[in-house]
Subunit: 292 residues, 4 copies
Amino acid sequence: MRHIVTSPIVLGLVVIQPVSYETHMIMKISRVLQQTRSQYQNIEIVELTEYGRALVLDGLVQSTEVDEHIYHESLVHPAMTTHPEPKKVLIIGGGEGATLREVLKHSTVREAVMVDIDEKVVELSKQYLQELHKGSFYDPRGRVLIADGKEYVEKTQERYDVIILDLTDPYASEIAYELYTSQFYKKISNILTEDGIMVTQAGSSFYYENVYDKVLASVRDVFPIVREYNVWVPSFGYACNFIIGSKRHDPEKLTREEVDKRLKDRNVETRFYNGRTHIALMNLPIYRKARR
Amino acid sequence: MRHIVTSPIVLGLVVIQPVSYETHMIMKISRVLQQTRSQYQNIEIVELTEYGRALVLDGLVQSTEVDEHIYHESLVHPAMTTHPEPKKVLIIGGGEGATLREVLKHSTVREAVMVDIDEKVVELSKQYLQELHKGSFYDPRGRVLIADGKEYVEKTQERYDVIILDLTDPYASEIAYELYTSQFYKKISNILTEDGIMVTQAGSSFYYENVYDKVLASVRDVFPIVREYNVWVPSFGYACNFIIGSKRHDPEKLTREEVDKRLKDRNVETRFYNGRTHIALMNLPIYRKARR
Amino acid sequence: MRHIVTSPIVLGLVVIQPVSYETHMIMKISRVLQQTRSQYQNIEIVELTEYGRALVLDGLVQSTEVDEHIYHESLVHPAMTTHPEPKKVLIIGGGEGATLREVLKHSTVREAVMVDIDEKVVELSKQYLQELHKGSFYDPRGRVLIADGKEYVEKTQERYDVIILDLTDPYASEIAYELYTSQFYKKISNILTEDGIMVTQAGSSFYYENVYDKVLASVRDVFPIVREYNVWVPSFGYACNFIIGSKRHDPEKLTREEVDKRLKDRNVETRFYNGRTHIALMNLPIYRKARR
Amino acid sequence: MRHIVTSPIVLGLVVIQPVSYETHMIMKISRVLQQTRSQYQNIEIVELTEYGRALVLDGLVQSTEVDEHIYHESLVHPAMTTHPEPKKVLIIGGGEGATLREVLKHSTVREAVMVDIDEKVVELSKQYLQELHKGSFYDPRGRVLIADGKEYVEKTQERYDVIILDLTDPYASEIAYELYTSQFYKKISNILTEDGIMVTQAGSSFYYENVYDKVLASVRDVFPIVREYNVWVPSFGYACNFIIGSKRHDPEKLTREEVDKRLKDRNVETRFYNGRTHIALMNLPIYRKARR
């Protein structure tokens, strides 16, 4: 039994965000900083009263000041920490620069390439979302390419230790879905080093179970070691799923102490992720609706 | 970066539920089965298209068919499993019978007393929410008292191994708040056996951090061993917090294997909780907003 | 300048109703009396806190206790009063019986036939919406046929003095739209007496100007005398438009005094419509968006 | 019976506007141009997809490009036209300049004084709402004073032919309510010429019947001739009420032809108001909920 003060909807400007087909979230806006349209999507940068500054693409919150660390640390660090010495890292997507920021925290990294298709998102993030990128765009080890991630993966001659897929959701569109097929994961595998590791965000297994299961099967088609985990992200309205595909290193084998040691050795400072969090993520059940 | 199909709000009958002061959730209703008012609250039993049959009190979803197991298993089993042999259990609140159902799964239990103030909730749950109580109301080891939980705790001569506080949220009202003070926890401690353990649901540390911190401090005032954990409950729109106060047994000391063994020995079958889940809950960070 | 107390959204069960493509209305529900699906549509009978008992079809409010008289009196009486002696009246649609109720108020009427396709709407209205039909279903002068209105119009050998089209909106679907074409109005004209008059509700000229203009043109194709008027209906969220097509009698020619005399002679008692209202309806501008 | 295409809520940025205690309106925003707070209120200037550029104060739409002419013409012209030769006009409120614009259309006017308390509304309207004020702020016959309207009325030595009260709603607050009492109307009467006429907007008689009736009684306490009328304003979500108090001239006595002649003689061009509209407004019933 639970019960909270019946709070009024604070009226005026709000964002109505779809959480799933028949669940939506209403969030109060205090200020709208930018509204524009790129070639690919509607881009809005707003202040939400409860979540701070936020990037909103096509009506969906991508990152907010108060909880983006939960998403980005959970996306980046389990894979990065599992690899014993990640030097070269590729990020597909991640336009606001926060994924790049987390990757660059690892002192082992010599080169981090971020490939995002939408230049406007990158530009506006530089201008308005300093709290999110924290200057990562200007780190000499980082490189931002405005390009189609799929093409980049097909053509590059480079090899990467870690690849992070910070993509639009698999149920977003047919184009998005292409980046969640075993065909694509084979190409990812081809440009990973022989002990390379990849991670993809994978939407919501609770609300979109069928799509999620297909993505999971695709990763399993290609990688010998596959691990799933999920983390509630307040401003998304759901627990976001992630899937790791790895050639040799298994994130489940890492102890709490090993994780903490690697983070310390690499000078990684975090707010959400650490050795204990790693253990939690590897053990928390994947959310699914109870069969009725 | 994430992106989902821009889904329309399915129009018609919906529930608008406050998640916090300035965040709300809209959920589509397929059918309304009961609407009434007891002496204490508005009671609605509805079918939600995405969550199945649900109990709604004063506009707040309490339990739904598709995710109540996440809440109730997380509330009950960490404390129950930590106690080596829980025979007598007290539940305050829990009117729909699902907490009682989980308690009675432990074959060690000889007597489980559930004290809820609202007879109408119990009656309607018996009639409409068979999927939630699963007959627990009719188990000979269970006993349901319609009474004020606070008074019961003050007057009873019984002693309990485990006490489960399935109460309205601490920020709900002054009356609710009384059941989250150190004064009340002292009384709880008095009716626990010398190795007794209690657990309370504690609302949301993310959205109501100040209130949560006071409750946590109150538990710490009384119990030598205090453990916190939180679990996303989809139909609540947030991760629900729980706090355990224990006199002797520490839930963090249990290994995955010990948890699984105890569940097996006691014939406890679950859908969400097990040894791995226990480890996850004990290690997952408590959600708080990032300092801005 | 205007300003009202910032009222909270009363949370819990609500209806979200589309007013147009990008405007919606939220109305608080106090009780749900019936929810079902007929062969044609979802049917809900609810109590709205501000509007009383209401019939809702496919998520759209059709009639509510507190304002249905505004819609039904405005639909029925201008045409009925304009005809000097309406004896035989045909209603297409109007399942909840309120249009029939208004027609039967005219003591000149000897026979009123109502043709509605959805038997379930009629049945549930009889059971739950006594305040709307006021027993009109049981008047010996009335006759309710469950049939396709279009087919009825094509096949009937009867001739009518007044025909009232209480149909779904013209922008609802292709099927609905068929009942707003000049082909259909020709058939209507064929079964009108030589001084017959018809009226149709016509949705919203403000929000759906293009569709409205086509309907208007279709009526003009067939009838020598065409008059438009519109009336705000609170629970619809807009001013509802009506179009009269007449063979001989012109509603604009009636004076206030003549209207009042006819109503008195025929023993018609109303709450909204009278001689003054008639003058207002014939003179109020048709709502259209200002050209930007 | 009516039925429209079940349109999805267009998600993303919206305004949720209270229409009454338990009815709300959701309107899609395409762009936010300004958000600020003055000493008195939150001020937002937005583009609404269906209504164009709009002024929003404390979450309530005041004027939109596509329908403000309906409100402002209905507020200004019935009173102005009823007076045979309005030379000096006082406006209390009306910060966005549209009321002033309508007043100045009458070529009889030599001086129009507008008194608004909120300088920021006036400034931002000058900057962003050219389509609303149409340059009226720069007309040499107009004068804008930033001052408390109540104090101005008490202290001024001027006498006016017409006074227009474009105030916040009577149910907005106690301060607002003061400007709707017989005490205040007496002061208004004192500064009217001996054949002077005043008009006030009066909120919604449908949704706030009790408050409306008090305001009406207050006007009747002071003026020998009192006329009420109401007009649906789409972006308000309701029919807005107006009350005229007059010392000698009666708006109901004007014929359609006289109104049209006066408008023509004074070179007044309008989009909504004319002789026919005047007749409609004087005859349309005042909206009230049917007694249940």
